[in-house]
Amino acid sequence: MFPTLRLCAKKLLLGRIPPAKFPFPKPLDPPKAKDVTRCIEALHVSQLETENKNARMFAKNNPDRIRPGAVLMVRSYVNGSKDPRTTSFAGYLMKIRRRGPQTSILLRNKILDTYVEAGFKVFSPSVKEILVINQNGLGKRPRRAYLSYLRKPKFHLPSVTPMIKDYFESIDSSKSKTDA
């Protein structure tokens, strides 16, 4: 696909390739990007990182990134770009699946004695915001990247609702403090 002209020029000098019989103009330059798909993906990711505030939260090179075991609340748009209505889901962060623009997270919560897991694509335009309710909701730092053991009855966790209540109460109280 991209034969090296320099090598051919060298071979011409050495006499291994016959010189061209006809006059040709200088050949055009090849495209600069060898692996275009990767360049386009990188461009897309950098665009998302500048526009999307959720980007730095899960970036591997961020020392203050969110780690599995955190308690997050995701607000996502329900009905396309025209409708401002949102729905919320909160839970323990079980897994961060890093795939560039398709990076996704898996949250697990207990809603009325039923355990529910929900996945969210972090860079999706339907995700409005991701709130960090608790940097670590498990007490101990989990020693796994994928907390699938939380599905076992031995490791079942309580609902995240009290934590959310505390979170919003502390926000309100800090607001009232600043107002006062």
Binding site: M1, F2, P3, C8, I17, P18, A20, K21, F22, P23, F24, P25, K26, P27, L28, D29, P30, P31, K32, A33, D35, V36, T37, C39, I40, E41, L43, H44, L48, Y77, G80, S81, P101, Q102, K121, F123, S124, P125, S126
Partner: protein, 264 residues
């Protein structure tokens, strides 16, 4: 006795194609069957296409629908007009486009002369794109850049599909095969019966059987150009394109757009 129903010639009862034919012929006052009249009503593009290379696929986010959009990356590699076909000399108007690079000593003397005469370094891939008439022909040596296509326009993408070799009847034609169990003897993926009985006493032509599959030219019509990236010499089209990665792809303006009735 049933009343004799005569076809009404209102524009709403004719097919769009027939309506177009009759109006263009009426406008030009030409009879329907001369070569000039036939050429006039042919749906030919006014711009040549480009020869691009399929470089891979990614996905992007659509802000308006909040959905993930699969896109194919098509790259421009030294796409240049290498020759022209004119009505006067060849009887039709076409643009000979070239892409890629071939070293002169790897190209036949005849082709070397052709490229040299047109002032172009030899190309790896060369293809003609027919256009409507001589007025649509660009200059020889014109280089095509990604800005040739606009974001939001539709294109037809033609490429050689991936070869599948000798494919069985289930893969090639989607036949259901036989039972996996229940006593089926050595007939899990076969076609089963191939015809009727004493009549016609033969297998009819066109019977779906195993054989070579793939490695054929296929056109995907009306693909949306999602993005144009001049700095990377590429465009993104929505959807999948035939052929393998690094394969050659012929992209031209969508012919379906030519079919569309101009909105009144």
């Amino acid at each position: 006795m049933l009343p004799f129903l005569r076809p009404s010639f209102s524009p709403f009862s004719l097919s769009h194609g027939l309506f177009r034919t009759l109006t263009t012929c009426a406008a030009s006052k030409l009879p329907l069957d001369t070569p000039e009249a036939v050429h006039k009503r042919r749906l030919l593009r006014t711009r040549p296409g480009a020869i691009l290379f399929k470089k891979g696929m990614t996905s992007v986010w659509d802000e308006s629908t909040h959905q993930q959009v699969p896109v194919t990356v098509l790259q421009f590699d030294r796409v240049q007009v290498v020759g022209l076909k004119t009505e006067k000399r060849d009887g039709y108007s076409a643009v000979q486009m070239g892409a890629g690079l071939r070293l002169p000593h790897n190209v036949s003397r005849a082709l070397q002369g052709h490229f040299s005469a047109n002032g172009v370094y030899p190309k790896r891939y060369v293809k003609e794109f027919q256009v409507k008439d001589d007025s649509c022909l660009p200059k020889v040596g014109t280089v095509l850049t990604p800005e040739y296509f606009q974001v939001g326009q539709h294109v037809d993408v033609k490429a050689l599909t991936k070869g599948k070799g000798t494919a069985g009847v289930m893969k090639r034609w989607g036949l259901s095969g036989g039972n996996d169990s229940h006593g089926a003897s050595k007939s899990h993926r076969s076609a089963g019966g191939t015809g009727q009985a004493k009549i016609p006493a033969r297998v009819l032509p066109g019977k779906k059987m195993s054989g070579h599959m793939g490695h054929q030219f296929r056109t995907v019509q009306n693909m949306l150009v999602w993005a144009v990236h001049p700095e990377h010499d590429c465009i993104l089209v929505k959807g999948a394109v035939p052929g393998p990665v690094e394969g050659v792809v012929y992209v031209s303006d969508s012919i379906i757009q030519l079919y569309k009735r101009p909105s009144a």
